[in-house]
């Protein structure tokens, strides 16, 4: 419980800053209802991005709970987006392409997991190599993909693509974002993962492996199999996020699509209370942790900061949040 108080506070502060900036900047003649409308529109935009970040954060967090790490997430996102584009362009129906891409992602995770458990390689190295391999694979598949290119090649897919887009992203045919469907998807996925994590034996295995792998093994947990599973889920979620990215964005460049997302996912997981040493973390924390960066980026955007200042401000805010989080936990531990 204590682990999510810090991130909760950070979020409250960020959202407070956001709404405050709107009220502060609102033109004098504007009716309050219009300001509210603009705030609402902005929050929906932010929630949409939070949803996508959240999906990959869930995967990263599960890997981290078992004491592993996955640096290939961003590359898998990019590769999956490109794969989805290439498949649909070449006549694979979007309804079939979606599960195929997620399956391919699961396959990637399976490969990562096998290398880590069977060959006893370091997760850091395996997934770092994976990062280059999957980025390279994306570039081999295509230079760039987009919905427009798919629809041009396969006009009959336009309606079904739009349907998936409406359901998963929340955008209508004109591209207007009506509701943050990605965030809804995140909540559903978080509920499922939370159920496994906190209500089933599997969850207990994962925490046990993260706490002390050897002890878990002696206690009869099939450690290798469980660890492979976690990587499978992580990469499958990354592939799903790739499809979301494809549906949401005007186009995906193979060399840059999804870049740095692994770091954002790990950041979200750690802010949300996962310890990089393993064995700690909650589903609620993962969702909250994933929400921080998009709202922080939005805040610096609407405050009109100088471009050169922005990276430093983002980094320092995150650092301040982490320090205060640590401070709270130490004090509460001392009291107990």
């Amino acid at each position: 419980m204590m682990r999510i108080l810090g991130v909760l506070g950070l979020l409250v502060a960020l959202y407070g800053g956001l709404v405050g900036t709107y009220v502060q900047n609102a033109p004098g003649f504007e009716p309050t209802s219009r300001t509210q409308e603009r705030i609402q529109g902005n929050l929906i935009d932010v929630a949409s991005i939070q949803g996508r970040y959240g999906v990959i954060t869930l995967g990263a967090a599960m890997v981290i709970i078992t004491g592993g790490i996955d640096l290939s997430i961003g590359a898998v996102v990019g590769c999956a987006a490109v794969l989805f584009g290439v498949l649909t362009q070449n006549g694979v129906h979007p309804f079939a392409a979606l599960p195929l891409v997620v399956l391919a992602g699961a396959g990637v995770g399976f490969g990562n997991g096998l290398l880590i458990t069977r060959l006893k390689l370091q997760p850091f190295l395996v997934t770092l190599c994976g990062m280059f391999v999957y980025r390279g694979a994306a570039r081999l598949l295509a230079g760039s993909v987009s919905r427009t290119a798919t629809v041009e090649a396969q006009p009959e897919f336009a309606a079904s693509l739009q349907m998936i887009r409406y359901v998963l992203i929340g955008k209508d045919a004109s591209g207007e974002l009506l509701f943050p469907a990605q965030f809804v998807l995140l909540l559903v996925l978080a509920a499922v993962i939370g159920f496994f994590l906190h209500r089933t034996a599997y969850g207990r295995y994962w925490y046990a492996i993260g706490h002390n792998e050897l002890a878990a093994k002696y206690a009869g947990v099939s450690v290798d199999r469980q660890r492979v599973w976690v990587y499978v889920v992580c990469s499958a979620l990354a592939a799903l996020a790739g499809v979301l990215l494809f549906l949401d964005m005007p186009s995906i460049q193979a060399d840059s699509g999804g870049q740095y997302l692994e770091l954002y996912a790990i950041l979200g997981a750690v802010l949300g209370g996962c310890s990089l040493r393993g064995g700690e973390g909650t589903a609620v924390g993962m969702v909250l942790g994933a929400m921080v960066l998009p709202v922080l980026e939005n805040l610096v955007n609407i405050r009109g900061l100088k471009s050169d200042l922005i990276p430093a401000v983002i980094g320092l805010t995150l650092l301040a949040g982490t320090i205060l989080d640590e401070f709270i936990r130490r004090r509460s531990r001392a009291r107990h």
Binding site: G16, Q24, R303, I328, S332
Partner: protein, 359 residues
């Protein structure tokens, strides 16, 4: 205890955020204009300087943003936040014209939209401020013709050939060299048959296409090094770098082999290194788009639109400029008034322009 600590945290962070310096916190009643570029680059510092000057001249509140990476997924949230903030006008350097059109249409419905540097014609923007890259490419072609009037061997270097300007610039260069037969004839180098490529008029383009580096500066340098070793000993060489960082990368590699002057270099854009090298006679010339003017014009147009004045809109493409060591008189080329400033003068002007943003 926990509640107390949480309160401290919230207050501390909220306090920290309140100290984030913001441009124009209170609503000043001035029109609010924003400009977003496609990435962070010295090129855009000049545009930022121009935009700031225009914001002073036309009394508007300006937010200028250079995103961290060149990706539509980075640019879009920035634009969306501004739209929701109730800005009056936004200028965008479009990254992916085809794909972004749909999103930009929604933006144009709510605020006045101007495209600059790279256009999205169907987005509902009121106008486009930018150079015709193919015309500018032709100007590079004319520089090459001037440097090697009797023909020669040519290598092109560029960041990418998938973006709109990455396609138009080399196409313009080669069209100018090969007019009227612009597609090039495949063939082998006359003296060095192991080099395959294409003939464009009297010019042989090694490999028949530009060498690309995806914006990676190290790759840009190694591309030139590899090319230099392949064409070792070939006479009448010209290397043309078509993205801002390419000409300095070429010069660096040419210097490393002590081939300055033997390998002619022609550039694009106004990298200070390029301009200095032109003034020193190490690079023959460069074609610039005048990004200062991109920033200035965009803000001028948006400021006028915010006050209901539509007369400032521009049509057609903006003129480029050709910079050489000696300079030359202004000429009319294909309906554009083209200036030929001296490199040293242009460098001085540029430094003065940048003072407004303290760079």
């Amino acid at each position: 205890m926990a509640r107390w600590s949480r309160l401290v945290l919230v207050v501390a962070v909220a306090g920290g955020l309140a100290f984030i310096p913001a441009c124009g916190k209170k609503d000043s009643g001035k029109p609010k204009i924003a400009v977003v570029t496609n990435c962070t680059d010295p090129f855009w510092d000049l545009a930022e300087a121009g935009a700031n000057k225009a914001a002073q001249d036309f009394d508007v509140e300006l937010t200028f943003r250079q995103p961290e990476r060149m990706a539509a997924e980075v640019q879009k949230p920035i634009i969306d936040a501004w739209v929701n903030q109730g800005f009056n006008g936004i200028a965008v350097s479009v990254i992916d014209p085809k794909g972004q059109t749909e999103d930009l249409r929604l933006v144009a419905k709510k605020v006045t939209l101007v495209t600059m540097d790279n256009d999205a014609p169907d987005s509902g923007r009121v106008c486009y401020v930018g150079v015709d890259n193919k015309e500018a490419g032709r100007a590079v072609g004319r520089l090459i013709k001037k440097v090697l009037p009797n023909g020669g061997t040519l290598a092109l270097f560029i960041g990418s050939t998938t973006s709109a300007n990455g396609q138009a610039r080399p196409a313009g260069v080669l069209e100018e060299l090969a007019t009227p037969e612009a597609n090039g004839t495949p063939g082998k180098h006359p003296q060095r048959p192991e080099l395959s490529g294409k003939f464009y008029g009297k010019y042989f383009l090694v490999d028949g296409e530009p060498k690309t580096d995806n914006g990676e500066k190290e790759k840009a340098a190694s591309n030139v090094q590899a090319m230099l070793s392949r064409v070792d000993g070939v006479p009448d060489l010209c290397f043309a770098g078509l993205y801002a960082y390419n000409p300095p990368a070429i010069l660096e590699a040419v210097r490393a082999k002590s081939l300055v002057g033997k390998v002619k270099i022609v550039g694009f854009d106004e990298n200070p290194e390029t301009l200095k090298a032109i003034a020193d006679g190490h690079i023959e010339g460069t074609v610039v788009q005048d990004p200062y003017n991109y920033g200035y014009k965009s803000v001028e147009i948006l400021a006028a639109e915010a006050r209901g004045d539509t007369k400032k809109r521009v049509s057609g493409s903006a003129p480029y400029q050709v910079i050489t060591r000696e300079g030359g008189p202004t000429q009319d080329i294909n309906n554009l008034r083209i200036q030929f400033p001296k490199a040293a003068d242009y460098l001085t002007t540029m430094r003065d322009q940048l003072k407004i943003i303290n760079k």
